[in-house]
């Protein structure tokens, strides 16, 4: 057993770091402005309507929340599964988990019809609502991961990292199950109402979270003249390939199950074949660009190049956004089947594909969530001993072998 002593330091802010920080802060500020604009005028200025009630902000919010629980996986690998090479990444992983969740929740809350009534959501609960459970799961996640970070940073509490890390790991599994169940438990809609949503969302979280982690870590290294060991990048890349394959697997099983049910052929045909933008996003962006291509990259010779792994990570993120878009918006676009087997028409869009064109404020609010997550991460890295010094990283390499 090689004794590893990793030194963590606050990151020195170089010009590149500060420019990036300013950029993300501006993104966050623009997002807040967009939210104010939407709140002031009402949702009439968005593309959302009575048919598509959740739009682009929800795509970003759900993507960030799902990724938040997945990004914690680096820390879990070290604390729970005893994979020491990942230990120097544990603190960044915990910080990013908090940052991404805060960013996602900010978008979700700012999109509410009455965001100023957040106190109502915090004081008045319906305990039968999976949404209300999620409020506890989210706040609990922030508290547990925050404590986990403190434990990691406190030398005499090192012995608690495994139990606290285990609690955090279990909590994140429940949290992602809860997020998936927001859709999985909707009995009304043909595209949702699938128990498979929960494991699918867990696979998605692992994949998106790791992709974001790899890119963030590479970017931070670039800004600080530090490099992640090549061997480790390669390993992370291959892990990403496994997660991306898991997402494809659960997606495949879910659609196959639906295709077997005659009552769901219609919605499946819409999402997979003739629904315009949705099949395009599904096959072209989610499956091909965001699934098969990154898997091919990381398992080919190209998978040894950090640049190619960065590309694979970016593709997973793009594919992930497309996937959430298809799930959330594609699922609503298919009309509710109140009268099965009948041709239906009304003044309220019954029997018609629900139209949705995202508006600029929605996009800006969503990007604002990414800005918030990035600012939180960068401030954490700047003011807390999050990142390992080069020495620590160098020492760990032999242990990884």
């Amino acid at each position: 057993m090689v004794m590893i002593h990793t030194v963590y330091r606050e990151t020195k802010a170089r010009p590149g770091f500060l420019i990036a920080l300013a950029f993300f802060a501006a993104l966050a500020a623009i997002g807040l402005g967009a939210a104010w604009y939407m709140e002031h005028h009402g949702h009439i200025v968005t593309g959302m309507n009575n048919g598509i009630v959740w739009g682009l902000p929800h795509v970003f919010a759900i993507f960030l929340i799902v990724a938040a629980s997945g990004v914690l996986n680096m820390a879990s690998l070290a604390s729970v599964f005893g994979k020491l090479p990942y230990k120097p990444k544990a603190r960044l992983s915990g910080l990013m988990a908090i940052a991404l969740l805060v960013g996602g929740l900010a978008v979700l809350v700012l999109d509410l019809g009455r965001p100023e009534r957040l106190t109502v959501a915090m004081t008045s609960y319906n305990f039968k609502s999976i949404f209300a459970w999620n409020i506890f799961l989210y706040t609990g996640f922030l508290a547990i991961v925050g404590f986990y970070l403190i434990v990691q940073m406190t030398r005499r509490w090192q012995k608690f990292t495994t139990p606290v890390g285990t609690v955090a790991f279990l909590w994140r599994l429940i949290l992602t199950t809860g997020t998936g169940s927001i859709f999985g438990w909707l009995v009304a809609r043909q595209a949702f109402n699938a128990a498979m949503m929960a494991p699918l969302f867990i696979a998605m979280s692992l994949s998106f979270g790791l992709a974001i982690f790899i890119l963030t870590r590479m970017a931070l290294d670039m800004g600080c003249d530090r490099t992640l060991g090549n061997a480790l990048v390669e390993r992370l890349g291959r892990l990403l390939g496994i997660f991306a394959a898991a997402v494809l697997y659960f997606t495949f099983v879910m659609h196959l199950t639906n295709l077997y049910s005659a009552s769901r052929i219609g919605v499946e045909r819409f999402l997979l074949l003739d629904g315009g933008i949705y099949p395009l996003l599904f096959w072209g962006v989610q499956v091909l660009l965001g699934g098969l291509l990154p898997i091919a990259i990381v398992y080919s010779k190209a998978g040894r190049s950090p640049a190619m792994i960065a590309l694979a990570s970016a593709l997973v993120i793009i594919g992930g956004l497309a996937q959430v878009y298809v799930i959330v918006i594609g699922g609503q676009a298919w009309p509710l089947e109140i009268f099965p087997g009948m041709q239906v028409s009304s003044s309220f869009g019954d029997g018609q594909i629900q139209a949705y064109t995202p508006s600029l404020p929605e996009l800006l609010l969503g990007l604002g969530g990414i800005g918030i997550a990035a600012v939180v991460t960068m401030l954490g890295v700047k003011f807390l001993p999050i990142l390992p010094s080069e020495d620590g990283e160098a020492v760990e390499q032999p242990a990884a072998a």
Partner: protein, 263 residues
């Protein structure tokens, strides 16, 4: 409460379709309520509620009732929009020229059988489910079911998350996308909250029929009937018992308070 679910308890004595009369009769027989409803499941709570009701509260809702509608699709006229117009006028929701975002509490739906080509029309509104999914999913408890079965949004608690709209199988709910002015005093509505058919709860509370039912019977096809489904003596309960009625999406087991015949 046990009385509300027990059709044989005899507490709802009024055969009158008038809501208020029925309620008053029920409340006056407060003593009967306490004694007749004495089944093994009756607790002290039932007595407490009975007492409270007897003391003050002609003005409170009747917890034994389950208000519902019976819609005879064969009488619902093609192109007739009386119920929709009446609801608009009563509750103040109107066409602002934004069809995708305008609220619609009730709408006429046209069904065509692709095999036979036969078509018919029917009104669809909040179905006032006994097991409403919108109430289950609402994080703050703003979506709720009154003791008399009417499903409402408490707009003081609604944060505008629209999860209820995701959960409703009937597309019954609308989100208010713009600021409103000059709302009806009895039908408060405002930007950023969700709303749906209230079954004209303000009318029911003062013993009147919902606006859609009133207008359908006055100038429409006379296709709609309103009443207490829990009262076996009520006209609606008798009709529901004798005519095999259907409920929309009955596969979901939500037990809507709106029944359709000849669908």
């Amino acid at each position: 409460m046990s009385c509300g679910t027990n059709r044989d308890c005899g507490c709802a004595t009024s055969a009158s379709p008038g809501v208020d009369a029925g309620r008053r009769a029920f409340l006056k027989s407060g003593a009967a309520f306490a004694t007749v409803a004495l089944t093994p499941t009756v607790t002290l709570m039932a007595f407490g509620a009975g007492d409270a009701a007897a003391q003050g509260a002609q003005e409170r809702l009747n917890p034994a009732a389950r208000w519902g509608l019976l819609i005879d699709v064969s009488k619902c006229g093609d192109g007739c929009n009386e119920c929709v117009t009446a609801c608009r006028k009563e509750n103040g929701w109107e066409d602002t020229g934004h069809p995708a975002t305008d609220a619609q509490w009730i709408r006429k739906v046209t069904l065509t059988d692709p095999k036979s080509g036969a078509s018919r029309e029917l009104p669809v509104m909040c179905q006032h489910c006994d097991e409403p999914p919108c109430v289950d999913v609402c994080p703050t408890g703003a979506s709720f079911k009154r003791a008399d079965g009417i499903v409402l949004v408490d707009k003081h608690r609604c944060i505008g998350c629209r999860y209820c709209m995701m959960a409703c199988p009937y597309k019954a709910r609308s989100f208010i996308h713009e600021a409103l002015i000059d709302q009806k005093p009895h039908a408060p509505r405002g930007k950023g909250t969700v709303e749906s058919c209230t079954l004209c709860v303000h009318r029911i509370d003062s013993g009147r029929n919902p606006a859609c039912v009133e207008s359908c019977n006055a100038t429409g096809g006379g296709a709609m009937m309103f009443g207490d489904l829990n009262d076996p003596e009520s006209a609606i309960a008798k009709r529901v018992a004798e005519l095999a009625s259907t409920q929309l999406r009955d596969d979901l087991g939500l037990d809507p308070g709106v029944h359709y015949v000849n669908l």
